[in-house]
């Protein structure tokens, strides 16, 4: 008998069984989502050729020249029926082949996704984790000091920031820090004067360019965290076992840990899901700061009617959310003993 709550053999088996179930369900979900998104994408009015044609005409090309250029560009367009295209697409997927991008001719969809993903993952991940940490800590304070001025102030700041739309926040911060007090660059990922690579100038420029998107993202999601954490802590504070621990003369630091650990538990679900959603990119923020992440790429692929790229982006988002769900569930079996024993309680 040990005092340490290791999951043990039965725990490991339970986790493995859960994982297998999740993976099976996940595969079915991916199949359904890809089918639905295939149908939706192919039924959007307009097609890639029309979109490109319009774009070229807008750029000043004569209609005949534009038509010709488009014909050359899209000579490889599939001509089979919808059903044949669907089968082709699924066969490709089975070989993990997402097809060719139409808006970036000659490039595989997975390559385009990869290059956009790196511009989303790092800033949005940094923004999410930053706001999570700050929100959690301030949420605890807001809950403990909820009868004082500080608590009110924190809660109000949370509600305000939670209510302001991301794009308003982005425009506001952009206006302040690039125009009023021009200390930060307005867009892009790095100054072109620096050689991309592992050198101080380039990295400094990267950080400088990422600051506004990261801060905007963090501020936009901070309100949600502080409000969620506050209400969670208030709930736990009212729990009987906290009073019981007090009446047993437990040290404040230990009681604080009891509160924090119990209160943070429900927030892990939200964190895992928002990490999954992160692959959708921060569309407004990336557009406003012209940051070439997944959100911006998704918009471009939609305007360009890039079927393959759209399909790839949706697939990526789906897979990410499914994986995040599985991760959240498995995380609970580790951190919450009530989930671990799953109804086999004595």
């Amino acid at each position: 008998m040990t005092l340490i709550g290791v999951p043990g053999r039965s725990g490991v088996i339970a986790v493995a069984r859960r994982l297998a179930g999740h993976l099976a369900r996940g595969l079915v979900m991916i199949l359904v989502v890809t089918t639905i998104s295939f149908l939706i994408i192919r039924n959007i009015p307009g097609d890639p050729m029309a979109a490109k044609y319009e774009k070229l005409v807008e750029q000043g090309m004569s209609p005949e020249a534009a038509q010709q250029a488009v014909n050359v560009l899209y000579g490889f367009m599939p001509t089979g029926s919808m059903w044949e295209q669907y089968l082709d697409y699924m066969k490709g997927l089975a070989r993990l082949d997402l097809g060719q991008s139409l808006t970036v001719p000659g490039t595989g969809v997975s390559t385009v996704l990869m290059s956009a993903a790196k511009w989303t993952l790092i800033p949005v991940l940094a923004g999410t984790l930053l706001s999570f940490l700050v929100g959690i800590i301030l949420g605890v304070y807001a809950a403990i000091k909820r009868q004082g001025k500080l608590g009110d102030l924190l809660a109000i700041s949370g509600s305000l920031l939670h209510g302001v739309p991301q794009y308003v926040l982005a425009l506001l911060l952009g206006a302040i820090f690039t125009t009023l007090i021009p200390i930060l660059p307005a867009g892009g990922t790095a100054d072109i004067m620096f050689e991309p690579g592992f050198n101080a100038g380039y990295i400094g420029s990267l950080v400088q360019h990422a600051t506004l998107p990261v801060v905007t993202y963090a501020l936009a999601s901070y309100g949600g965290w502080i409000l969620a954490m506050k209400s969670s802590v208030v709930t736990v504070l009212g729990d009987d076992f906290i009073l019981a621990a007090e009446l047993r003369g437990m040290k404040r630091s230990i009681i604080f840990r009891y509160i924090a650990r119990n209160a943070i538990l429900p927030l892990f679900t939200i964190l895992a899901l928002s990490l999954g959603l992160l692959f959708g990119g921060a569309i407004f923020i990336e557009r406003i700061f012209n940051y070439p992440g997944l959100g911006l790429m998704l918009i471009d692929s939609i305007t360009g009617r890039d079927y393959a790229l759209m399909g790839g982006a949706f697939l990526l988002i789906t897979v990410a959310i499914i994986i995040a769900n599985i991760a959240a569930d498995l995380l609970y079996t580790v951190i919450d003993p009530r989930v671990r024993s799953g109804g086999e309680a004595a």
Binding site: G5, L243, A244, R248, K251, Y258, I335, P337
Partner: protein, 358 residues
């Protein structure tokens, strides 16, 4: 009255204790001018309806009345600890758990759901600077074994893996493991089935005798008091209306409220209609009358004086009754009703209690 003569069992003297709760309507008294003595080595039962102030009284013993409530007057003297009302900060924290063990209502979950019982036991030990943690674990295990459980397994379990009766025994273990000799049990058998209730009561009785404790049991169930308590105090509307040795109070109740409570219990033999519920409802915090007797609205022997006069505290031997209508016989000592309108924190007017008379 069976008194376990153990020197370690502390006596407790509650004098003129008042607790008020801050409400939008001002500070309202939940407990008013209570005098009660816990004789070392005895089990005292406090009975009363919901809202009678009995849980507030129990929390006062640890100076743990939760905001917006506060102890506004009086003292709680515990042998070896002094007046806990005057304690604060780390001294108070150390007294909780080590000197006074508190056992929660069984229906409540008094354990951290995320940690095993054993880990919480270690947290408790660390909080009280116990150096010999393995010794503490051993003590806990033997206490649990003593209460008819597999101690080692229980220490390795989380709360959700334990039944209600098991949780209650864990609660009792945690109250005793630091060697507290004053134990407060708040509704120890509420929400437990009959068999488990009987087991818990037997355990309370046995552990009380074995370890030489002074025990206070708070309950709404007269049956529980009859089973375990040596002495009994009946609370109504924040006051103790009658107290004395359990057998005497239950056998020959003097206060109309105590009589009403006993009449409301259905008997095993005889007509079910013989059990009569008390008319009316108990007062809430806002409706407790400020003057006169708190029970008069529901009283069968109500007189004019009950409206205005504080009931006199009548003492006869070990028994105390606060009622205008009570007849305590020729040798009763009548103490004039105390001035309770001005609530002062004086300890000077220590009342005459039954034990001192006996």
């Amino acid at each position: 009255m069976s008194v376990t003569s153990d020197k370690r069992a502390p006596g407790v003297r509650i004098s003129d204790l008042s607790v008020v709760y801050r409400t939008p309507a001002g500070e309202l008294p939940a407990v008013r001018g209570i005098d009660l003595e816990l004789v070392p080595g005895t089990i005292t039962g406090v009975v009363g309806e919901s809202g009678s102030g009995k849980s507030t009284l129990a929390l006062s013993l640890l100076n743990a009345v939760q905001p917006p409530g506060r102890i506004s007057a009086g003292s709680v003297e515990i042998d070896g600890l002094g007046d806990v009302v005057a304690l604060g900060g780390d001294d108070l924290r150390r007294a909780r758990g080590r000197h006074v063990g508190y056992v929660f209502q069984a229906a409540q979950s008094s354990l951290n759901p995320l940690k095993t019982v054993g880990k919480q036991l270690l947290d408790l030990g660390r909080s009280h600077d116990v150096e010999d943690l393995p010794g503490l674990v051993k003590e806990a295990r033997s206490l649990l074994d003593r209460m008819g459980m597999d101690g080692a397994r229980v220490l390795d379990s989380h709360q959700h893996e334990l039944s209600g009766g098991m949780r209650q025994r864990v609660g009792i273990m945690l109250a005793l493991v630091l060697n507290a000799h004053l134990v407060v049990l708040d509704e120890p058998t509420t929400a437990l089935d009959m068999i488990t209730q009987a087991t818990i009561l037997r355990i309370i009785r046995e552990v009380h005798e074995e370890r030489g404790l002074t025990t206070l049991v708070i309950t709404h169930d007269l049956g529980v008091v009859a089973e375990v308590a040596d002495r009994l105090a009946v609370m109504y509307g924040g006051r103790v209306v009658e107290q004395g040795p359990t057998r005497e109070v239950l056998g020959d109740p003097r206060h109309p409220y105590t009589r009403g409570l006993l009449q409301a219990i259905p008997r095993l033999v005889g007509d079910i209609d013989e059990a009569r519920a008390l008319p009316g409802r108990p007062p809430t915090l806002g409706t407790i009358p400020a003057d006169g007797c708190v029970f008069r609205e529901r009283c069968a022997v109500r007189m004019d004086v009950c409206e205005t006069g504080e009931p006199p505290v009548l003492t006869q031997g070990p028994r105390i009754v606060a009622c205008h209508a009570a007849d305590m016989g020729p040798e009763a000592v009548t103490e004039p009703a105390k001035e309770r309108q001005t609530v002062t924190a004086g300890v000077g007017d220590t009342p005459t209690t039954g034990e001192e008379q006996a």
